[in-house]
Amino acid sequence: MSQSFSPAPQLDGDALIADVLIVGGGMVGLTAGVALASAGFSVIALDRAPLDAQLDAAFDGRVSAIAAGSRRALEGIGLWNHVLAQGHVAEPIRDIRVSDGDSLAFVHYDSRALNDKKARSASAPPSEPEPFGHIVENRTIRAALAARAKELPNLTLLAPAELAGVVNEPSHALASLRDGRRIRAALVVAAEGKESALRAARGIAVTRWSYPQTAIVCTIAHERPHGGIAHERFLPVGPFAILPMTDDHDGRHRSSLVWTEKTALVPAYLALNKADFDAEVVRRVGDFLGRVESIGPRWSYPLSLLHAERYTDERLVLIGDAAHAIHPIAGQGLNLGLRDVAALAETLVDAKRLGLDIGFGEVLAGYERWRRFDNVLLAGITDGLNRLFSTSFTPLVLARRLGFRAVNRAGPLKTLFMRHAMGLVGELPRLSRGEPL
């Protein structure tokens, strides 16, 4: 690929000039910065918090399931090698077992059953099936992003820096920061998360509803190895997931728990002493991993769904949670954000290669048409799943158990579900297919 790089941001009078300004330096925002800078755009990304704060162990205790399609995209933008370089932090998911409460009905997804060439990464040896995804600690992803950003001279990080406002001029957006600095860019990307101020400032309405559920997240150490198997159990109160992590430095086997609970009860669970908390964990995990204990801090995240009525405005595009936040039931939130990034990068690269203004409405409309269907579909599926599984109403319970058995037996349907979980269904961006931009 012949690619000339735009220079690092230039000064015009007192204003910094870049092709793209990204507001929000979280996982999705910075990945967008890396993707666009890797594609040759000059990019400024800003965040209210200093970057070091994000790398602190106490900042974010979650892990993310990086689906196969997302991993390919991260490889394509030179980020995945930095993830691997952080140490033993990416645990492949080779098997997903989804079960319903305490029943024996379950769907068993085994990556070895997906024997088609399309589902295999070009780099993997032919005998090794491509895993569904990898479980990676969020702080590892953040550290990898910071390391990759340093390699890109055309990506500038401004943090801490806070946006005061954006004014559109005919050929660019002019952003002012609270500290008085100004930035000129052809396009502004809103990646500030669920409570996006840019989205609110443009009057883009959102559909939102909160679930009466909160996710408790913690790490457990266990006696037996997990074998790369992810478990998702649909308990009456909500989903309960056990996600395989790498062993820690002392060689202890570890998994991450995502334990959905009624919001009202969560403070009480979080306040339990270790022995009582561990007892509650064991009641839910069972004994298949041998002795189990919680390690490290406990976090909690309230669950809510949000979807923006549109993803674009004049010289503005929304990505990640600023556009859509879904129920984490299927582990797809970050993956959707990363697919936004892959689609946006491809849209902008194609526009630049056609000599189009990358902030032009028709260009941005292409990104929106591409992403909206996928995002609405998953928001609907995950919300539906949560409602379906958060019930103990007998006919529904019977129906979903029968459904599980049917899916498990129906080969093509199961393959489709598996490929969907891998992020390999639909019109995929080139990056998600493992191709260069």
């Binding site: 040759g40 194609d350 290669r353 000599g355 189009l356 028709e362 409309a365 048409r369």
Partner: protein
């Protein structure tokens, strides 16, 4: 993007401010992706992509390079608001845009100036330009010949404006029942390409007629490519089906 060359021709400082406001409104209309020219904006990427790829191929460039058309002198006949001229300029070409509409040209000039693009817009005809012996690497007659009174004379003048070895691209509408039906029922297909209130089907031209006319202008006629609209995906794509919209390449012998 950061094209910062000074504009070649600026909006005349002696023009009445009221007029400027009118041109500005017209420029805004041309460049509003949700306005009256929305169908043209949706169509534009496929034809810009076609032009980029064929021009790059003809002149031995890499179409995915940063400025694949660098240094090529291109004449955009019937340039309207500059929807082709601007992207081709960003791809490195030195574009001259001509149009018979004075206000339209002022709007194009104003917009290029706002975008920091150097484009030579002139209110003239291809016949007048050819008479000055202007040698262009490429002449683009995109959706204009269906407006022209004397097509053979127009094509001969266009050929004259080309350098030997240069490339001419003509895009127009086929004279088929399908094109007629779509032109009448679907504004999407022709909006902005035909004079208001006229659906003059007789001005549409069949590819074989156009090929004969290009050959008569001493050009070597190349490929014919169709452009089709998919109403389900709301997207245009290149096709072998030339029943409605199509483009013909031809070259001037060395």
């Amino acid at each position: 993007m950061t094209d910062a060359a000074p504009p070649a021709s600026t909006v005349d400082a002696t023009v009445d401010p009221g007029e400027i406001a009118r041109f500005s409104a017209l420029a805004t209309e041309w460049w509003n992706p949700h306005g009256k020219f929305k169908p043209l904006h949706r169509f534009n990427p496929v034809r810009v992509g076609f032009l980029r790829d064929r021009l790059a191929n003809h002149f031995g460039r890499d179409p995915l390079a940063d400025r694949p058309l660098a240094g090529l002198r291109i004449l955009d006949v019937g340039c309207g608001g500059g929807l082709l001229a601007e992207p081709l300029t960003r791809l490195g070409a030195e574009v001259t845009g001509i149009d018979a509409s004075g206000p339209g040209l002022m709007a194009a000039r104003l917009h290029a100036e706002q975008m920091g693009l150097a484009i030579d817009y002139r209110e003239t005809t291809v016949e007048a330009l050819a008479a000055t012996g202007a040698g262009f690497d490429a002449v683009l007659n995109m959706e204009v010949i269906e407006h022209v009174a004397d097509r053979p004379a127009f094509l001969a003048a266009s050929a004259l404006a080309l350098k030997p070895g240069g490339l001419m691209v003509v895009a127009t509408l086929n004279r088929t029942a399908k094109a007629y039906a779509l032109a009448i029922v679907g504004a999407e297909y022709v909006l902005g390409w035909l004079p208001r209130g006229t659906h003059n089907w007789q001005k549409f031209v069949k590819p074989e007629e156009l090929r004969a006319e290009l050959a008569a202008a001493d050009l070597t006629v190349g490929e014919t490519t169709g452009v089709v609209y998919n109403p389900l995906s709301d997207r245009w794509s290149l096709s072998r089906d030339a029943a409605v919209n199509y483009m013909i390449l031809s070259t001037k012998p060395l």
